[in-house]
């Protein structure tokens, strides 16, 4: 199905064969792109063309293609997850662009998130932060108390939920001029700080997670607020404030 709304675009895409080799921007023309297709479907069209020509297709991370797995990344025209508020790259549609546009497509960049290939980056450092304390120390034995034995005020539960919707994409880190992981980290700390189940080990959690964040080479937070703007899930800066309070009281208790 082609229609007269179809677009032709010039893409400037970061190509890098592996972590060791230097990368560069390469030009590609794509034609006949439907405004109803998603940004990643546009890249599918490009890749189909490249494969047919026998060239190496552009590698990018993606999976759910509905804004929830956190797999997709991409810096599009200088913005994490491209133009548009509260969306991931996979939710971006081509109707946000015009026929004839030039689009820059680059990977998320941060020292702690090195490029693996083309547009794919290594987010292992983010995993390590979670492993340092992003849990409640309870076994999965099934011998826990009844779920309704402990009522939790709706406002707390809702705020914990909001913090817990972070998809771990790394846009906040890629956007931050210091490459700080504070928004990402604070979302998890906040979720647990707001719930009675999480409070018990609150002090240990925040100290351990911050320590690992520093060890992994993420930068310091200087409160620019850029992360909040680019976060596809609307994770709020309030979480960073809450985390700072948690951290302060945990350190004072030492």
């Amino acid at each position: 199905m082609s229609s007269n709304n179809d677009m032709n675009l010039l893409l400037k895409i970061w190509r890098q064969p592996d972590a060791q080799t230097k990368g560069e921007l390469v030009d590609y023309n794509v034609t006949g792109i439907s405004p109803d297709s998603s940004f990643l479907e546009m890249l599918d069209v490009l890749n189909e063309q490249l494969v047919t020509k026998g060239e190496d297709p552009v590698v990018f991370d993606h999976d759910c293609r509905e804004g929830i797995c956190g797999m997709c990344s991409l810096f599009i025209n200088g913005e994490a997850h491209g133009p548009g508020k509260s969306i991931t790259t996979c939710q971006l549609h081509m109707r946000s662009f015009k026929d004839g546009d030039t689009i820059y497509i680059e990977p998320f960049r941060a020292t702690a998130m090195p490029v693996i290939k083309d547009l794919v980056v290594d987010r292992t450092s983010m995993e390590k932060i979670q492993q340092a304390g992003g849990y409640v120390s309870i076994n999965t034995s099934g011998n826990t108390q009844d779920a309704n034995a402990l009522p939790i005020p709706k406002a707390d539960a809702d705020a914990a939920f909001d913090a817990a919707t972070c998809i771990g994409c790394g846009a906040c880190i890629a956007t931050c001029k210091n490459a700080s992981a504070m928004l990402f980290l604070s979302a998890k700390v906040s979720q647990f700080a707001l719930l009675p189940q999480g409070k018990v080990e609150g002090a240990e959690r925040v100290k351990n997670m911050v320590r690992v964040m520093d060890e992994e080479g993420f930068g310091n937070c200087t409160n620019t607020g850029a992360c909040e703007v680019e976060c596809p899930k609307g994770i709020s800066l309030d979480n960073i404030a809450r985390m700072n309070r948690e951290y302060l009281s945990a350190s004072l208790a030492d």
Binding site: R65, D146, Q197
Partner: protein, 667 residues
């Protein structure tokens, strides 16, 4: 000699699980340290299993193709998770959940497994709350419930429209705790490409490191497959792009029977296709049917005017609309089960009444709900004689508070404001009830090889009820497998570490590298997607919502043909020893091309209509599905024999002692 021993424990259904747990062999804590378990997949089923097994003391190695366990496709589940807690005091019970699930599955599930699922369901909620999963709560601070899928009680727990995400992050956090302790070794960006059998037992896997392309050997005393469903055999589905059948298919080829491959759930409320560029489909949660009414125009002239854009759906008079579900099923109306709703949409669209350019869309309309809620709200807030506009405004706000994120998602994709015009929806492939055959212990027909979650066939029969997959995944992973696997591992305490330099590992690795080399060397002209799309088209047209003998035979022949072309004309650029997305896809599509044929063969064998499987030859005069319990009350378990067409059918007869077999009716 059929290997199909379902190992259902003796005794009354309500005591089976307790008695079984009491009689099962245990492994003492010191010995658990000597035992390694591989868990492939870290969704709800695999993630929960990996965490639980590690807590118990086993050494776990877990594998996922994404870059983190948190990204498994369970993350995308929206609506909720069922549990027989009876917090709403509306008469729910273990038995009722058991009954609803067996009936919803159109009497094609194993009673004992389903009862156990219902029995452990309550513990899941306790467990998740203890982990800090932020479920929705009411103003009293207690857990809230919603109703789902036309059952008569409110037993669905939820976290807005992101229940799967919150549950998976719970399992992920439990995994992280064990990863930090060194009890789970996590292999992200790794794909399992074969299972290794030593003396007939599963002893390890061959995996490819997706970053370096390196082929690796991993050994263990048992292997758990929790790799999700195979809906992507249709190319377009609501599954994630990487969802695949590969792990399940590889164990099938090594001796695990594949059960009921043709049982697929086609979900009625998905966003319609917009064009050929379409790469996947997006679900709109079933909960929308609680408030939305489904219709198409009554008259062809209106359909044509709507397609041309000269008539807006909102302009069409009430009397010119065909609310076909309410017309055909007055008792359940818009809340009939998924399979019934999907077929009815197809029937109308096939008759030419589809409302978009592709002719494959029906309306889901909230106008009546706006008015109903708006009036209610005006009443509560003491507003007298509100204008129609005011009522609509109030009503829309109520709907927004219930489904805001779904409406927003719709608008982002379709670029239409669903508050102002009805949504367009169409059925899409969503879930596969079929999967690896397992016994009561979740063991496959390969000793030491287990299957959990959507990857197995176990609990949903021919149709799954909404909010029951999350329940099953977590039940399998947290509460079933950790017990039942011990029964097998109790005999492994003296085995010692499994070496990976055995001839069996050599052969399995060679098999994998040979296949990869063969694929890379075809150097043909067509991309992987080319073949995948062709396969998807034939599956959708001939093995989709309605199936008949002619179409199924054609599908089998055509899939064989596509497979032949795949192996002679495929082109994969790049190399095998680096990150290569085309190579990954090729491996998966190669397996789909085999599964697809078995799928059609299974549908051909089952000359009855049940649940999601509708054979045109088996319907009532009014066109409703007609089940045949005399001839088909069995599980089809297929044994691999080379070509999919040569697979041998083994039947596990289903007996119903605790539920009376009845023809489903939603009239």
């Amino acid at each position: 000699m059929s290997k199909l021993d379902s190992k259902i424990p003796a005794g009354p259904i309500k005591d089976k699980w307790t008695n079984h747990k009491n009689n099962i062999n245990l492994v003492n804590p010191a010995n658990k340290r000597l035992i390694d378990v591989i868990v492939v997949g870290t969704g709800l089923a695999g993630g929960a299993a990996a965490a639980s097994l590690a807590e118990m003391g086993y050494n776990v190695k877990a594998f996922a193709y994404q870059d983190s366990p948190r990204r498994a496709h369970s993350i995308a589940a929206q609506g909720g998770i069922n549990a027989a807690k009876n917090y709403q005091n509306d008469g729910d019970s273990t038995y009722r959940l058991f009954y609803d699930t067996v009936k919803g599955g159109d009497y094609r599930a194993r009673e004992a497994n389903v009862y156990r699922l219902a029995e452990v369901s309550a513990s899941i909620i306790d467990q998740c709350v203890a982990q800090g999963v932020p479920f929705a709560r009411d103003y009293g601070g207690l857990l809230d419930n919603r109703s789902f899928g036309g059952v008569l009680v409110s037993r669905t727990f939820y976290a807005k429209g992101q229940t799967g995400q919150q549950l998976l992050l719970g399992a992920y956090s439990a995994m992280n705790r064990q990863i930090a302790k060194g009890k789970i070794a996590m292999y992200n960006r790794h794909e399992m490409l074969d299972v290794v059998l030593v003396d007939g037992k599963a002893r390890g896997i061959i995996a490819r490191d997706l970053i370096t392309g390196k082929i690796e050997r991993h050994s263990a005393h048992a292997v758990v497959i929790a790799t999700g469903g195979y809906g992507n055999v249709f190319f377009l589905s609501t599954n994630a792009m990487g969802s695949n059948v590969t792990a399940a298919w590889k164990i099938h080829k090594k001796g695990a029977y594949f059960a009921n491959p043709c049982y697929t759930q086609i979900h009625p409320t998905c966003i319609p296709r917009s064009g050929d560029h379409q790469s996947k489909l997006t679900l709109m949660s079933e909960s929308l049917r609680n408030d939305g009414r489904i219709w198409v125009p009554k008259h062809m002239k209106d359909v044509e005017a709507i397609r041309k854009g000269t008539l807006k759906p909102t302009q069409l008079a009430e009397g010119d609309r065909d609310y076909y579900l309410e017309r055909r099923y007055p008792a359940f109306g818009n809340l009939v089960p998924r399979d019934v709703a999907s077929r009815a949409a197809k029937e109308r669209c096939d008759a030419g009444y589809g409302v978009n350019a592709t002719g494959e869309a029906v309306y889901l309309d909230f106008a009546a709900a706006y008015v109903r809620y708006g009036k209610e709200k005006a009443h509560i807030t003491g507003l007298h004689n509100p204008s129609d506009e005011k009522i609509l405004e109030l009503g829309r706000a109520v709907i927004e508070s219930k489904y805001g994120n779904l409406f927003q998602m719709y608008e982002k994709i379709v670029d239409e404001n669903p508050y102002m015009t009805p949504m367009m929806i169409y059925p899409a492939v969503h879930y596969t009830m079929g999967g690896i055959w397992v016994d009561y212990n979740l063991q496959t027909t390969i000793p030491g090889c287990y299957a959990a979650g959507e990857a197995n066939f176990s609990d949903h029969g021919a149709n799954r009820l909404g909010a029951s997959a999350l329940m099953q995944g977590l039940a399998d992973g947290y509460f079933v497998l950790p017990y039942t696997i011990g029964d097998y591992l109790a005999n492994e305490i003296r085995t010692g570490a499994i070496p990976t330099d055995s001839p069996e590992f050599d052969a399995a690795e060679k098999n994998v590298t040979d296949t990869i080399t063969k694929m890379m060397n075809i150097k043909g002209t067509k991309s992987v997607d080319h073949f995948h799309k062709r396969l998807g088209k034939i599956m959708w047209n001939n093995v989709g919502m309605a199936r008949n003998i002619k179409g199924l035979k054609e599908a089998m022949a055509e899939i064989q043909q596509i497979r032949k072309e795949f192996w002679s004309d495929l082109r994969i650029p790049g190399t095998a020893n680096s990150m290569n997305a085309e190579l990954e896809k090729a491996g998966r599509v190669a397996d789909f091309l085999e599964l697809g044929e078995l799928f059609a063969k299974d549908a051909l064998d089952r000359n009855e209509s049940c649940g999601g499987h509708f054979r045109e030859e088996s319907q009532t005069e009014e066109g409703e599905a007609l089940r045949n319990d005399n001839d088909y009350a069995y599980v089809s378990a297929w044994e691999y024999k080379g070509e999919p067409a040569d697979a041998i059918l083994h039947k596990e007869e289903l007996t119903f002692n605790d539920i009376e077999l009845k023809q489903r009716s939603y009239k």
